[in-house]
């Protein structure tokens, strides 16, 4: 089983890198660091310029937003499920959270567009009003819809199940004798959690967050539905345009010329490597945490 997935994974990697090889070769390092993407007509003799940088940055900005919003929510959910939820509802609540993972991402996208966007626009205005002096919260023109911020929140909701379930498993392993020690010293439940559970579970939460990041990096349809995809560098999360690698590929694929198609496959390879590295790191951390219990 694990062998076959390794083979499939290698084949996908090979396919992407071979097909994308021409783009890497013609663009060189510019493919990663460049921030412009100009595709010439095939046979027109004009020069293709493929620089994925803007979308790499966009991917990181959106994913970081997703983590900032999603991880605290997940940790609180996991703490609630482990230490507060009444025993009778626990199983039910856990399965509800796990069910969230199985929804198709287009549903999250539609929900994000129709339900979340109006609310998030209002939050974005508030953040801009009070924290606008911080460069990333600045908005040059009042365009708050379809921003990386909103895409980040949609992704945050989507990574909650995986981050919650990893955190919950780690929290549940907190040694009972430490929990009792804290209670015996007159700790409230929350004081006990801060002193015992969080220090114990911290590295597990980091691992869970990285698994969530692995999901956020590659998310396509949900981002495509809510984000105004423009091929430009945008660090201003509240400002209404941006993009990530996956959604950009979807957007450009239909009309791509032969050479641009190869460049998109090369972009896919970059995403593949990013996701692979993050997931491997996450698995390492989670496994080490579960094994050593600290």
């Amino acid at each position: 089983m694990s062998m076959s997935s390794l083979v499939i994974l290698t084949l996908i990697g090979l396919f992407l890198s071979l097909r994308g090889y021409q783009a890497f070769k013609s663009q060189g390092f510019h493919f990663i660091t460049g921030v412009d993407w100009v595709a010439a007509q095939d046979g027109s003799g004009e020069k293709n310029v493929f620089g994925l940088g803007a979308m790499i940055i966009g991917t990181l900005v959106i994913s970081a937003t997703a983590l900032v919003v999603g991880v605290p929510l997940s940790v609180l959910t996991a703490l609630f499920l482990t230490f507060y939820a009444p025993e009778r509802f626990k199983k039910f609540l856990i399965s509800v959270v796990d069910l969230m993972a199985s929804f198709p991402s287009i549903l999250y996208g539609l929900w994000g567009f129709f339900v979340l966007m109006p609310m998030a626009e209002y939050w974005a205005k508030l953040i801009h009003k009070y924290l606008g002096w911080i460069p990333i919260f600045d908005v040059p023109q009042p365009a708050y819809t379809r921003s990386p911020f909103i895409a980040g929140i949609v992704l945050a909701i989507m990574i909650i199940p995986i981050v919650t379930s990893v955190s919950r498993e780690i929290f549940a392993q907190t040694p009972l004798d430490r929990i009792q020690a804290a209670y015996a010293l007159g700790a409230t439940r929350w004081a006990m959690i801060k002193a015992v559970v969080l220090p114990f579970g911290a590295s597990g939460v980091v691992g869970g967050a990285m698994l969530g990041l692995g999901r956020a990096l590659g998310e396509t349809v949900a981002v495509y539905s809510v984000l105004n995809i423009v091929f430009k560098v945008n660090f201003q999360v509240l400002y209404g345009f941006g993009g990530n690698i996956a959604s950009m590929i979807v957007q450009k694929w239909g009309e791509a010329s032969l050479s641009e198609g190869k460049a998109l496959l090369a972009a896919g390879f970059v995403l593949f490597i990013m996701t692979l590295l993050v997931n491997m790191g996450a698995n390492y951390i989670v496994r080490r945490t579960v094994k050593t219990g600290r």
Binding site: D177, Q180, A181, A182, A184, G186, A187, T188, P199
Partner: protein, 292 residues
């Protein structure tokens, strides 16, 4: 759930005849209530404890006088650990655990719904079978952790730190490495650290659930020393498998036994008498090493 499956490497009950135990008990200095601060008395009235539908402890009533040391002895599964955990409401952390009865501290029932359970545990501290310092904290932070956990404000933390570690008999060994992590200490040192940690929130009663069962004989003696010192200032209740230990440290001894049914308290009296002339035949059998 119970703590009864512990190893009991230093239990000398098999080799020690009752007469030897009673002479140990008779020889130890008797504490006279003088003008010492003696902590508070604790009275348990009609304690029953259940795990699910299983009745683990039936109708135990015991008084613990202020400033005394009471040992709870008995074979595995007799409910003594369960009993001591009802005295500071740690019993209720076990899912499905239930209890009935009253525990009066200074005449007030700690199970009164009006009472703040975290305050109860501040007044009635507990030391566990296995040393359980917080591994993410330094030695100093461990001692003072109770203040943080219970949100107690206090000046002179350094003074409190030294005082607690001194009372727990650990100050000289750790005073130069208060910033080191607690995991580097030996088992016996860790247990004394846990005692110091309990003392920092100034409890009136200290419960000890087989505090030496995971320790070597040398560490055990040091802890017993500490207990004798502490008994001048507080009420101590100690569960032990080790009858030598009961004879060495306690003023009173209560014998618990389960005859297959729920655990019961068979007999309580001055330690000296329990080991020399117990009233109940079963106590006699146990202290003379015929079973257990």
């Amino acid at each position: 759930m119970s703590n009864e499956h512990d190893q009991d490497g230093e239990d000398m009950s098999v080799t020690a005849p009752a007469s030897a135990l009673s002479s140990v008990a008779a020889n130890r200095a008797h504490r006279e209530p003088g003008n010492m601060p003696l902590g508070s008395g604790l009275e348990a009235r009609g304690i029953h404890a259940w795990f699910g539908k299983h009745l683990a402890l039936a109708d135990v009533s015991l008084d613990f006088g202020a400033g005394t040391v009471t040992a709870l002895i008995g074979p595995s599964g007799c409910g003594k650990s369960t009993f001591i955990r009802t005295l500071n409401r740690m019993h209720e952390f076990i899912p499905s655990a239930a209890m009935a009865g009253e525990v009066l501290l200074d005449g007030k029932d700690i199970y009164d719904p009006q009472i703040d359970v975290t305050k109860v545990r501040l007044e009635i501290g507990m030391v566990f079978q296995k040393p359980n310092p917080f591994p993410s904290m330094t030695i100093g932070e461990n001692v003072l952790s109770g203040l943080k956990l219970a949100q107690i404000k206090r000046d002179n933390k350094e003074q409190l730190l030294e005082e607690c570690l001194t009372r727990a008999g650990l100050w000289n060994e750790v005073k130069d490495r208060l910033d080191a992590h607690a995991g580097g200490l030996s088992g016996g040192q860790q247990q004394r650290l846990c005692i110091a940690r309990s003392l920092a929130v100034n409890p009136k009663v200290l419960l000890m659930d087989e505090p030496c069962s995971a320790l070597d004989p040398g560490s055990t003696l040091r802890i017993e020393d500490t207990i004798s010192q502490l008994a001048r200032t507080m009420t101590i209740i100690i569960v032990t498998h080790n009858m030598q230990q009961a004879a060495r440290v306690s003023d009173y001894t209560a014998f618990f036994l389960s005859d297959g049914g729920p655990g019961q308290m068979i007999e309580v009296g001055p330690t000296n008498e329990i080991f020399s002339r117990p009233k109940d035949q079963r106590t006699e059998n146990y202290v003379s090493g015929r079973f257990g």
